[in-house]
Amino acid sequence: MLLLDYQNVLIESLLRDRLAPDASPSSVDQIVSDFDNVTFHISTPESKSKILVSITIKCWKELVTYGAQAILDREYGPYIVQPEQGYDFSVQVDLDTMASKPQEEKDELVRRVSLLKRNAMAAPFEQAFDEFASLQDQAKNYSSETAPQGVREGGEVRAIHYREEEAIYVKASHDRVTVIFSTVFKEETDRVYGKVFLQEFVDARKRGVQNAPQVLFRHDAPMELQGQPGLRGGRGENVGYVTFVLFPRHLTPQKRDETISHIQTFRDYFHYHIKASKAYIHSRMRRRTADFLQVLRRARPEEADAGKERKTASGRTFRAQA
C-alpha cells in the first residue's frame, strides 16, 4: 500500500531490458535524481554493451567515514570501476560477459545495481548494528552498576546529513539501536498532517502491533543528540524529531537487511503519505464542491422563472404558474 521501492526503478528496468536474451544493445545517457539528494548517471561511454552506472550522494563523505567503501566493495566487487568524473562511485555492467550467464545471476546483478543508493546509505546502520552486537556481548559480563562507561552509555552517534536541513542519527547501545530523523516541514499544512500521521506510528504499539519498533515524536532535540552540532528545535520551529527504537529482535542477522532498507525510506515514505493524504482530502473537497454546485443549480431556476412571460412556438404568451 503506497510502499516505496528500495531500488531505483529506472536502473532496474533499464538493466533488465538490456540483459534480456533478445535485447539489442543501444546507447543510453541519462542523468536522473533519486530521493535524498542522490543523482545517478547511467551511460554507455565506451561501447553500447558496457553500461556505466555512477552515483553521487550529498552525504558521501560522511558515509565513507562510516565504512561505505567496504560495503560497496563487498556488494559490487568485480563490477567496480574508477569513479566517473563528478561522481562518487561507479560500477560497470558488461552486457557481453553477462550474456552467457544464467538468468538468476543476471537478476541478482540487476537487483544489486538498482540498490546502489540503498547499499551506500546502509553503511552507518551496518556499523551501528555491529556495534550493538559487540556491546550486547560485553554487557553480558556486567550488571548495570558495574558496567564501564562505554558499555553503559553506548556508542558514538553517527550523523548523516543527507538533506540540506535534515539528518539521520544512529546510535547503538547494548540493548537497542536508536535511529533519529530530524525532519523539517516547509508548510504548515504538512506539519499538521505529519503530526497526525506520526501519532498513528506512536500509537501502533498500543493497538497491539507489538513487533513494531517504538516511535517517539518531539519538537526539541532528544537527549541522545546532546552535543551534536547544528541542531534546531523547540517551540515555534518547524523541526520535528522522530525517534525509532530498534530492539534486538529487529537486529538479528536475518532481519537486519530488511530493517535497514525499511528505515532508510522512512522520510520519503512519510512525505509521500502526507501528500497522498492531501490528494485524498482534495478529492473529497472536489466532491463537496460538486454537490454544492448541484444544489445551487437546482435552486436557481425557480426564482428566475417566477412570474416570467413565456412564449410558445406559435407566439402565444402565457404566465408561468408560481
Binding site: 500500500m1 516505496l4 536522473v32 533519486d34 504538512d190 490528494a279
Partner: protein
Amino acid sequence: MASQTPAVVMDNGTGYSKLGFAGNDSPSFVFPTAIATKGPAGGGGGTGSGRPAVANKPNFLSGGAGGHLSGKRGTEDLDFFIGDEALTAASGPGYGVHYPIRHGQIENWDHMERFWSNSIFKYLRVEPEDHHFLLTEPPLNPPENRENTAEIMFESFNCAGLYIAVQAVLALAASWTSSKVQDRSLTGTVIDSGEGVTHVIPVAEGYVIGSSIKSIPIAGRDITYFVQSLLRDRGEPDSSLRTAERIKEEFCYVCPDVVKEFSRFDREPEDRFKKYDVRQPGGRSVTVDVGYERFLAPEIFFNPEIYSSDFLTPLPNIVDTVIQTSPIDVRRGLYKNIVLSGGSTLYKDFGRRLQRDIRHLVDARIKDSEVRAGGQARSGGLDVQVITHKRQRHGPWFGGSLLGQTPEFKSYCHTKAEYEEIGPSIVRRFALLGGPGST
C-alpha cells in the same frame, strides 16, 4: 536546494505519459496514462483511449472514486496502480482501469492527482519540494485547467516551481536539433499527432495563433482500429488491438501513390508482404500476414474517406488552410517550418509526402493568381518545408527537456511563494521561455 536539481519534465498525453529530467535526450519513463483503482472501469470521464465508459454524471468536478465517500473509511483510495502496472492489474479481477486524460485535456482530477503522486514518488523518485516542474498542456487548454493543475502541484506536492508550456511550442523547440533548422525561432506550424487527436497549430514567435488552430479527429488510435478492421476482414488468427498496434508501428509507411503501390505489391509480393509472429497468452504462437495495411493505414491522413464518412479533408489541405487563415506577415515563416511531433507522425516518408502535397497546393494557388493577374505579376514562389527530426517521437517532452535545462528556466517558473501570495490565477500567464532574447 531546488536550484541545483534538474527540473522534472512531465508530458502527460492522452495515450502515454512521458516523464523524465531536463537535460536528458529521452524521457526516463514512458507508460500509458492509465490508473487502475478498486472497482469497475470507467466513470469520471476517464476513457481517453476509446474504451467505452459506464455512463457517469458529466461533471468534471466529480471524481470517479468519490462515489460514496461518507461511507468509506478505509484505505481503498490508496490502493491503485498507474501505467503498465495499471493495465496488468486491470486484466485481473477487482480493478478497473481509467484514463484521466481525454483529447489531450485532463478530465478527471482525482485520478490525475493520484497518477501524478505515484509518478513522482514511485517512478521518478523525487521529493517535489526539491525540484522545479515543467508540465505540458494541449493548445487551447482552458485557463481553469491550468489553475487546477497549479493547485495540485503547489498545494498537494509543494513543488518548488512550476512552468506550464504548450506542447506545440515545445515541439518547435525540439526541432532545433534538426540540421535543417537554421535559426532557433519559435515560429512554425506544428503537426502534433498522438493517440487521441491531431492538431495543426500555427505558432508565431512562441505565441500560439489560437484562432487558426485546427484539429482532426484522426490519430493513432484510429489508425490502429483501421489496421484491426483489415486484419479482421481477412480473418487473421490474431486481430487484437495490441497486435494491430504493433503491426502499425513496425510495418506501416506512407507511399507516394496508392494505385502504384497496389501494383507494386502485386509485382514484388515477396518484398512487400510481411509476416508478424504473435505470442498469444498461453504460450501459443501464431503468424499474422501483413499486407496492404502497410501503406493503407497511414493513408487515411491523406485520404480520410477510406476510413471515415464524416471527416473528409486531407491533412495537407488542413495545414494549408491553417496557414492561409493566419496573419499574412507570418505565413512565409509558417510554410517554411512545418514541424512534426508525436507518435503518429513517425511513419516512414510521412513528412516527404506531406511536403509534396502542400507544395502542390501552394504552387497551384500561385499559378492560379498569376493567371488571373494576366501574367503581370510574377511570384517568387513560397518555400514549403516539412521538418522530420530525430526527437519527433517525444517532441513536446524533448523540447521541455531542452528548455528546462537552460540557466534561466527557473526564473521563468512561478514559485510556491508567488502562488501563495497571488493564488491559482498566477498560472494564467507565463513568460515565454526560449523566445527572443533568451539563450
